[in-house]
Each structure stands twice: as C-alpha cells, then as structure tokens.
C-alpha cells in the first residue's frame, strides 16, 4: 500500500470504531424521531438524553445546559449572535481576540453590521491574548467576551480561567451580565474543559475533532445566561435550537467525548512525546525555521513552523507526494490568497508567514511516522530553497 501518514488532526479526525458502532443502529432499526409519542421512539429519546448526560458530566454542568448543534461553527455563531443580541438593551460592545476561528470572527463582523462595536484584542508573539488589553477594553457597554481555549493554527493555549476572572470581576460589569464564551473546539480531548474551572458561560465543541462524526457539535449554555434563539421552528433542545435532532450524530458525540476524556492522559502523553520529537528534529535538521505558537503552553498535538524563503503550499504538495498529509496557513492554500491572520497578529512578517506548515498529531501516529517525516522534510525544504530567490545560497546556471 502507498504510504499515508495523516498529520492534519486539527482539521478532522477519523471516527473511532466504537463511536461508529454505537451510531449505526440509529440510522436503521432505531431511526425514530425522539419527539414522537409512541413507545419505540422513546428509545431515541433515551439515547439522546444519555448522550446529553455524558457530555454534561464531562463539562461539569447539568444536562439541560447542553445543546446539540451541527458543529463548532454553529455553536460559535449561536454564542456571539444569540448572546450579544439578548443583551442589546444593556450594551453593544463585543470583545474577542485577533486569532479566533473564522466562525467567531465572521460572526463578530456580522454583529458590526447590526451596529455592535467589536474590539479584537492583540496577542503576544506566542499568540496569547493580551490580558492588559482586555482589562482596558471592557467598558460599560461590553456585553460579551469570546476567547478561544486553544488556537487551531499554532496550538497556543489561552489562560481562559484568568480571562474569566478579569471579565467577571471588572468594575464595568458590576450589576449586569457580561457573557464569557470560549471556543474549545481544539481543546476537547487535550485539556480540561470543565466549565466551572474555565469560568465560562458558553462553550463550543465540534465532534469530529475528537474522533466523533462530522456535522455535529455542542453548545454549552450556562443556566440563566441571556440567549436569544435564532434557529426557530421547533421545541427541540428546549426551544433553543429548532430541528429534529441528529440522533446518530449525538450518540456518536457522547461516546466520542467519553472515550476522549477517558483516554486524555494517555493521549496527551503520547502526542506530547511525538510532538517534541518532531519539533526538536526539525529545529536541529533545518536552518532558518521558526516554531510558531507558545513553546510550552501549546496543544499536545500541534507542531507548527515557518520555514523562511519557501512557501507553504509547495511544502504541502511535496509532502503529499511523499504520502504525508499536513496543512498550512499560507496565502497560497486559501481561496482568498491572503495569508493567515493568526500568524500576522503574532507579528510574523508576511513573507515568513508564507512558509507556514502545521502538522497535528493523533492517537494513531507512531515513532516511525516521526522518523519518516524527519527523513523527508529537510530534503523538501532544501529543494524548494534551491529554487527560491530569497534563499541564502543561489544556484547558478
């Protein structure tokens, strides 16, 4: 078989066999609508409730605070739009960071069109949101703060609990609500996502990032948090999100999150070890490379670099030919031909950001995979540099 090493787990993960097994009956023999009255439909209802309880136990909340959605993007949209709109009488100011996922950033742009003001907090060179800037940004009109738990491109972990303390104790919020939301899509399975320890009112998850199915996610909404539902037309999810439940997806989410949580310690140890081997190997084999993101406060599975003088898409294509699947924030890999806003916000120069490469590990990666990547990558970068006009040494013909 042709070699295939998958290093793009931040994009998506395969469905765990036990997750698939648990889901399958709900496509066929247990297909009934959980809202139906007859006895057999109660099985679907029970299964959905069971999954909700599982998720709630891991988040450390009550089941009714868990809303199933179509994924991380929908959950982020619900948080920003549903939270800010519910508080529009109290203020019109939203705070987020400059390195959020597009689902948060674009939702904020949408709110700007509706007359809200948005502060995009700067980050330091490692991608950590500037807490001094947050402190200053909160004002009498602030209604919502959204800061991700961990970044999808560079893996930097944000001090969410500390951010929560700043938001919740700020004098400008005295006597009224400032909602704090976190996009924890990349964090599940790697970090503690207990909502009380994080101190969040809203939290987003996406099942396919933790070996669950695509097209399903979780929106955590703390009880009594102001929220306006804007998907209407049914009483599902306690009137907060209309539409017949994605029963099989919800079952899969419960099992996947349970497995991810049970396996978390092992997963973190496994990925961290491979991650550090890969990072050290690259730094010792290749010159003029920059590790992007925080050196220690980073997701256990995230390896992200910028290689000077070369461009990320051509690295990706060369890796693909060698049987390695990875990703890049380079302009040339996106339809918009603009480079990653995350790297630029961290102060990485445009030309350097061009050479970005992200490799995200998973449970199935092995030491042999790391050996193979290390034996391949240096040659790829060297070849591309031999073509580049920016490289230190140029070929002559």
């Amino acid at each position: 078989m042709k070699k295939f090493i998958y290093l793009d787990h931040a994009a998506t993960t395969p469905v765990h066999s036990r997750v698939l097994e648990a889901m399958l009956p709900f496509f066929t023999e247990r297909f009934c609508n959980p809202s139906a009255v007859y006895t057999v439909a109660q099985e679907s209802r029970k299964a959905v409730d069971g999954a909700r309880k599982t998720v709630a136990d891991i988040l450390g909340c009550v089941p009714r605070d868990v809303i199933f959605t179509s994924g991380g993007s929908e959950s982020d949209n619900m948080a920003i739009k549903g939270g800010a709109l519910a508080l529009k009488e109290s203020g019109n100011h939203i705070i987020t960071s400059a390195i959020e996922h597009h689902a948060v950033t674009e939702s904020c742009h949408f709110m700007e069109k509706l007359g809200f003001e948005v502060t995009y907090l700067p980050v330091d060179r490692y991608g950590v949101a500037r807490l001094d800037a947050l402190e200053k940004a909160i004002n009498q009109r602030t209604v919502l703060v959204s800061i991700m738990t961990a970044n999808n491109e560079v893996g930097t972990i944000q001090p969410v609990a500390e951010i929560s303390r700043i938001v919740k104790n700020h004098p400008a919020g005295r006597g009224r609500t400032i909602i704090f939301h976190t996009d924890a899509v990349q964090a599940a399975g790697s970090l503690d996502i207990n909502v009380d320890r994080l101190g969040v009112d809203m939290l987003s998850l996406s099942s396919h990032k933790f070996y669950g199915p695509k097209g399903v996610g979780v929106f955590y909404l703390r009880r009594n948090t102001p929220f306006i539902s804007w998907q209407n037309g049914g009483s599902q999810e306690r009137n907060r999100r209309a539409g017949t439940e994605n029963v099989s997806g919800i079952i899969g989410t419960g099992v996947a999150l349970q497995l991810a949580e049970e396996n978390r310690e092992h997963y973190v140890r496994h990925c961290t070890r491979l991650r550090d081997r890969l990072i050290e190997g690259i730094m010792s084999a290749i010159q003029d490379v920059h590790l992007t993101g925080h050196p220690t406060e980073r997701l256990p599975n995230n390896v992200s670099f910028c290689f000077e003088y070369v461009e990320g898409e051509s690295i990706l294509l060369s890796l693909d030919f060698a049987g390695i699947a990875a990703s890049s924030g380079s302009a040339c890999t996106s339809a918009s031909i603009e480079p990653s806003g995350v790297l630029l916000a961290m102060g990485v120069p445009v030309q350097v950001a061009h050479g970005s490469l992200r490799m995200t590990l998973g449970t199935d990666n092995t030491d042999e995979d790391i050996d193979y990547v290390l034996s391949t990558l240096a040659g790829i970068v060297e070849r591309l540099r031999s073509i580049s006009p920016l490289a230190r040494k140029s070929a002559h013909v």
């Binding site: 070369v310 051509s314 339809a335 480079p339 030309q351 580049s388 140029s394 002559h396 013909v397």
Partner: protein, 121 residues
C-alpha cells in the same frame, strides 16, 4: 488538484537558478499573495537563447515559471512579448482557477525581462 504536467514542472523545474552572463533580468512580485519570480535571459541575434528563473511561491508559481523558460526558448523578442497568461496556462494544460494569477505573473516577468533588455540596448 494539479495535472501531471504541472506536477512534472513543479517536481523537475527546468532552468533553475541565476543565469551567469544574462543580458537582462526582471522580477515580478504579487503584492497580495507574496509570490516572487525572477527571470534571467540571454539574447543572441534577436532571439532568446537561454533563460533561467527563481521562484518563491506555490507549486503553480514554480511550474508556471519553469514552463515560461521553455516557452521563450529561441523566440524572437516580439514573439516573447506576445506570450500571455493564456499561453502559459495552455502549455501547462490547465491550472486550478485560484491559481490563474500565477500564470499571469509568469507572462508578466517575460514581458518585463524583454523590456529591460530593450531598454538597456
């Protein structure tokens, strides 16, 4: 994503490097995506006898530059000036729509190199 001809020119780019004794050179940079192409030409009896390139950019930029050096081989300066983005795309047997600007850059750098040669004379 890319056809075999593009892949071939990306994996085995022709005429890479600085051309020693070049009669003219040109650089084109795309300010949006950041790609950069250098082209060097050597002219004899009004024809491009030798050329080479350097590229900082995606695989399509590298392949477009590589095939550009083949397209201008032995062409008169007038013929080289007539090469367009479409000529480059045609020679590569197609590019994804999001990569068409790479072929445009290759055509631009050819025109610029020829003009630089004519200006020097």
């Amino acid at each position: 994503m890319y056809n075999p001809r593009v892949v071939d020119h990306f994996n085995n780019p022709r005429n890479v490097g600085i051309l020693d004794g070049a009669d003219a050179q040109a650089s084109v940079e795309n300010p949006v995506c950041g790609d950069l192409i250098n082209l060097y030409i050597k002219v004899e009896d009004g024809r491009i006898k030798r050329s080479s390139f350097q590229a900082f950019g995606c695989s399509a930029a590298i392949a477009s530059s590589s095939i550009a050096t083949e397209l201008i081989q032995d062409k008169t300066l007038d013929e080289a000036l007539k090469i367009t983005s479409d000529t480059v795309v045609g020679a590569l047997e197609g590019l994804p729509s999001s990569k068409m600007h790479c072929a445009g850059m290759a055509a631009d750098v050819i025109h610029k190199a020829v003009k630089n040669y004519l200006d020097k004379k």
